[in-house]
């Protein structure tokens, strides 16, 4: 498989503290990858670096071979990187449909237009409705984002990122704050969409059930560096990972 995204010795420092310490991280085309590690391991910082929220102090970030290290967020989105957020980030006073439509307008470069009516652009609304349907949110199309349940908000967050038609999707704890019962349906939906559209995804997750059930590959981070990188089976058998992160090794399923 070809490498879609690659970081080379990327570093992010906050004062004395190295949140990300010379990390070589790779995502391959079409794969679903889980990024695990204890709190403070540097997972979110790494995602922030790749998505452009933070600028790397050292190192390189390459998307399909193209150096995006210095590019602003807007450019990286255009290059194909999208993300959802750990603390759900939505446009609370706009409806779910509006939220998704906005991403589509932005993707199509239409947000510059100030003398045409947004409502008049039928293709955009059609696509927005389809996206909502994909994520099983079509019933809530007209509900304000602020009024959705936590699980629905999490899905909407992903839907917005999806609507940007990314090549690489970063999901930061897509099931956190959601009841255990809801986690599987949410992950099923996300997984189904991502795989059917052949979008590469990197998911930060703490829930090990989710991690082992849905990912092709697992990357474990600890204190700013990559501890291990392999298939779920390999990781399960990796003692360093299990003692640092998981506890006692899981019995083989």
């Amino acid at each position: 498989m070809t490498v879609l995204l690659e970081t080379r010795a990327v570093v992010k420092q906050f004062g004395e503290f190295r949140a990300v310490d010379r990390v070589d991280f790779r995502v391959q085309e079409g794969e679903v990858l889980a990024l695990i590690g204890s709190n403070g391991a540097g997972k979110t910082t790494l995602v922030n670096l790749i998505s452009g929220l933070l600028t790397a102090d050292e190192g390189q970030i390459l998307l399909r071979g193209q150096d995006v290290t210095q590019q602003p967020v807007k450019e990286r989105i255009r290059a194909g990187i999208a993300r959802s957020f750990q603390l759900v980030n939505l446009f609370d006073q706009l409806s779910a449909l509006d939220n998704v439509a906005l991403a589509i307008f932005s993707r199509q470069g239409k947000t510059r237009r100030l003398l045409t009516l947004a409502d008049a652009d039928r293709p955009v609304w059609a696509e927005a409705t389809e996206v909502l349907a994909l994520f099983r949110l079509e019933a809530k199309a007209k509900v304000l984002a602020g009024g959705l349940s936590q699980g629905e908000r999490k899905l909407l967050d992903v839907a917005i990122a999806y609507a940007l038609k990314p090549k690489l999707l970063f999901l930061d704890e897509p099931t956190s704050g959601v009841s255990t019962r809801e986690k599987a349906p949410i992950m099923d939906t996300i997984s189904r969409v991502v795989r059917s559209e052949r979008i590469s995804a990197a998911i930060i997750e703490h829930d090990m059930d989710v991690v082992f059930s849905y990912s092709d590959r697992i990357v474990a981070m600890h204190q700013g560096t990559i501890l291990a990188d392999g298939t779920p089976d390999e990781i399960r058998r990796n003692e360093r990972v299990t003692t640092t992160l998981i506890g006692t090794p899981e019995p083989a399923r």
């Binding site: 998505s51 967020v73 980030n89 932005s106 239409k110 045409t116 947004a118 917005i160």
Partner: protein, 332 residues
């Protein structure tokens, strides 16, 4: 890939709102014929301030930025007109408007670059400080701006033909009133399209969640800057329209407390709605006029209203009406 789903076209469009807009329009058209001259001119003032409040609210209600410096753009519009009259001898209202637009674009472009990098308190303070810069300049360069005495402005020529020579009051309460009304309607229409455009949606996204907007690919600073300029230009047009009514332009309208009045109007009407600022401006105009005529302590009166408003009716007049009507609709 596409499954068969019915396309949801949001019906939030004001097709249903037109039912109350039409009678109001009729009333506005008839005012000069049924009310006395004083009332008509008073309403003209209200409509002018409504344009200013409308412009202001593009920033507050739709972009989430509270500016305490809109007096600057109102004043720039007014002084542009006054100076065109004094130094260029221009009396055409259309040219005045053009001058006001050009002046406001220039000022808002410059001020905007500085201001839109900040939000919330710092944005408010910065806009306040910048409008004070203009105020103090108007004061200090009195040989240009007339200082505290201000600059007198005679009635302009409308559309090249209608002038105020002769009975000024009649001119203001008839021809000029309709001119203001026409421009008011044009401004309302343009602003309505802007807030319902993809750009308007992007602004609301920026307001609701700056980070998310960034991560949807929206250039937040640039769009804020554009919103800032649009907002200022509307207010500048209001300033230009205001001058002939007042006959005079003084530094008071550049002082930040005048900005406070514009803020008051938007809040009074309800800054989370489109028509709120319009209603607020007209109502405030009446409130202030009657309060000033009634008591010398009109500031106290208005101040109390503002405090009560913010405490108990934060959504303003229009917002509260909408909420009451929504509750009526849901209760069986």
């Amino acid at each position: 890939m596409s499954t068969v789903t019915t396309v949801v076209i949001p019906t939030r469009s004001p097709m249903r709102r037109l039912w109350y807009a039409a009678p109001i329009l009729v009333v506005l058209l008839l005012v000069p014929w049924v009310a006395d001259q004083y009332q008509t001119i008073l309403l003209a003032y209200g409509l002018v301030m409504a344009i200013a409040a409308l412009g202001f609210n593009l920033l507050l209600g739709y972009t989430g930025l509270l500016s305490f410096g809109h007096s600057a753009y109102f004043g720039v519009g007014a002084y542009a007109v006054a100076m065109m009259v004094k130094y260029l001898g221009v009396s055409s209202m259309e040219l005045h408007l053009l001058g006001a637009v050009v002046a406001s674009v220039l000022i808002t472009a410059v001020f905007g670059i500085a201001c839109v990098r900040y939000t919330r308190i710092f944005f408010g303070i910065l806009t306040m400080a910048l409008s004070q810069v203009l105020w103090s300049l108007a004061f200090k360069f009195f040989w240009v701006t007339g200082g505290t005495d201000g600059l007198r402005v005679p009635t302009p020529t409308l559309l090249g033909v209608v002038t105020g020579k002769g009975d000024k009051i009649a001119f203001l309460s008839h021809a000029y009133y309709y001119y203001v009304l026409a421009l008011f309607l044009v401004c309302v229409a343009i602003m309505w399209v802007i807030v319902n455009s993809p750009f308007g949606r992007a602004l609301q996204a920026i307001r609701d969640n700056e980070t998310r907007a960034q991560f949807v690919g929206i250039p937040i600073w640039r769009y804020r800057w554009v919103a800032f300029m649009l907002s200022g230009v509307f207010t500048g047009i209001a300033g230009a329209l205001w001058v002939p009514l007042n006959g005079l332009t003084t530094p008071d309208i550049l002082h930040w407390t005048f900005s406070g009045k514009i803020v008051f109007m938007a809040v009074l009407g309800g800054f989370r709605t489109f028509v709120g600022p319009i209603v607020g401006a007209v109502v405030y105009n009446y409130l202030e006029s009657y309060a000033v005529g009634y008591t010398v302590y009109w500031q106290l009166f208005l101040g109390v209203i503002l405090v009560v408003l913010v405490l108990s009716l934060p959504t303003g007049i229009v917002g509260t009406i909408e909420r009451v009507m929504a509750r009526r609709r849901t209760t069986p």
